[in-house]
Symmetry: C2
Subunit: 247 residues, 2 copies
DNA sequence: CGAGGTAGTGTGGTCAGACCATAGGTCGAA
DNA sequence: TTCGACCTATGGTCTGACCACACTACCTCG
């Protein structure tokens, strides 16, 4: 036992697993040993192993399942969006992240996404956008509840990020959006003039896509920015627009 | 016992604390009850409380300390950078985030930062940048080891993000940088032609700051982008430049 | 009377053991 | 052959115990 060090048994478990990940000994789809085996192998208690697994789970790196068989146990997955959403949501709740900064960051990332997409179309290598178009069409339905519309809207924005091909940007964007929505402030304000709002949103979405397909990076960028900042200025009634505009 | 609900005792603890945070019952600087008290109050075991606290700690929301007195116990803090760095590092290790996408995202965010700063200077409301200038001067020393230079460089970039005032962007940027460095691949490549590299980096930093102070958003944006993508293209010898360039 | 050491107390950190719920696998009976 | 009951391995949870640590209070000694 080279157990000369001391602090944080659970951290040593985390570091060991991270090292195995970097080493390539563990990868997406692989299953970790059972908690009891892992504890014995690493010379720590089972509870310490569990605490480390809990961190990995909350970060979106492992998925655990009870029972037996091929689906049981802790499996390495790559689900960054869940972990990112949890982190951003908690930091927002704990006042580590001001609401305005979260919205502003979303605007920054989405601007980059649509700029990149528009540039790709200008270069003649634009992606399919089939999923994006499908969501756009679904949002045209007349009988949508606000919650349903907003769910489609979220997937629309996410589909743009995924089309741009950068999974880090997509994960952060999805997390920011989730964090914003879990704040749950918009309900009342949204109801104020819903028909007019949804109509504007549809037009803005269409304009963004048109700019992207036309290969106009600067135009797409400005349109998505005003789309996002405008939405939160309209529904949250805070000083969001000021902070969002200068980021 | 109103224990009709379900799985994940530790998750119920997490949700309770998050709810208290949103409610304002808990905020930065406040201390949580002891683990034993919390367990009794929420009707769960102490180990479940600990698992929830471990998640909060890894997300940068609480800081725990043993012993007694005013500094002991679990305190609510707002340390988003630590949690963000952990998440990004783990996702990078677990192949959830391709290296190229991490670098590209850093380029996106830093471009936005310097653009925003340059715009502020153009509008005559530019911040002090005292810390930034100090770091820039420190990097001019001739006897710096590569590690020391890179540490100053990291703080330089972070100081820009902080000057822009968006803590979310600053936290993500710091996390991205930490994740990149923990990958630890650059050592060898950096040593190749260190004097020339450090000279170029100094010139690029100076050019970025000059563009910011001159109030040239587009120029600053392009310079920081080429600074970042150029550095990783030069030191990592991967296909980074391609993916980084189109983001 | 003051200074310094010492026992006390409460905190997180860890471990061991036990029990439960679940879900797949196994094997025997119809 | 088929289908049911049992078996087993897994994570999920709880309890109780002990340790290390740091502050507090008190007590002793100069």
């Amino acid at each position: 036992m080279s157990q000369s060090e001391s602090p944080r048994a659970w951290r040593s478990v985390l570091e060991r697993i991270e090292a195995d990940l970097l080493e390539g000994l563990l990868g997406p789809g692989d299953r970790l040993p059972g908690e009891r085996d892992l504890a014995a192998k690493l010379g720590v208690g089972r509870s310490s192993v569990r605490e480390a697994l809990r961190v990995l789970e909350s970060m979106g790196l492992v998925r655990t399942a009870s029972g037996s068989g091929p689906n049981a146990g802790a499996m390495i997955v790559a689900a960054p969006q869940g972990g990112m959403a949890t982190l951003l949501r908690l930091q927002l709740a704990g006042q580590g992240f001001p609401f305005a900064d979260v919205v502003a960051t979303r605007a920054v990332l989405e601007s980059s996404v649509v700029e990149s997409l528009a540039q790709a179309f200008r270069d003649g290598v634009g992606p399919e956008l089939a999923e994006t178009e499908r969501l756009l069409a679904a949002m045209d339905a007349d009988d949508l509840e606000p919650d349903d519309f907003l769910a489609l809207d979220a997937r629309f924005h996410l589909s743009l990020a995924e089309a741009s091909g950068n999974v880090v940007v997509a994960a952060v964007m999805a997390g920011l959006r989730t964090a914003i929505e879990s704040y749950g402030r918009q309900g009342a304000a949204v109801a104020a003039d819903w028909p007019a709002l949804v109509s504007d949103l549809r037009a803005q979405h269409a304009a963004v896509i048109a700019a992207v397909r036309a290969g106009e990076p600067e135009l797409a960028r400005e349109q998505i920015r005003s789309h996002i900042t405008g939405f939160y200025a309209r529904t949250h009634l805070t000083g969001v627009e000021r902070s969002a505009a200068d980021a």
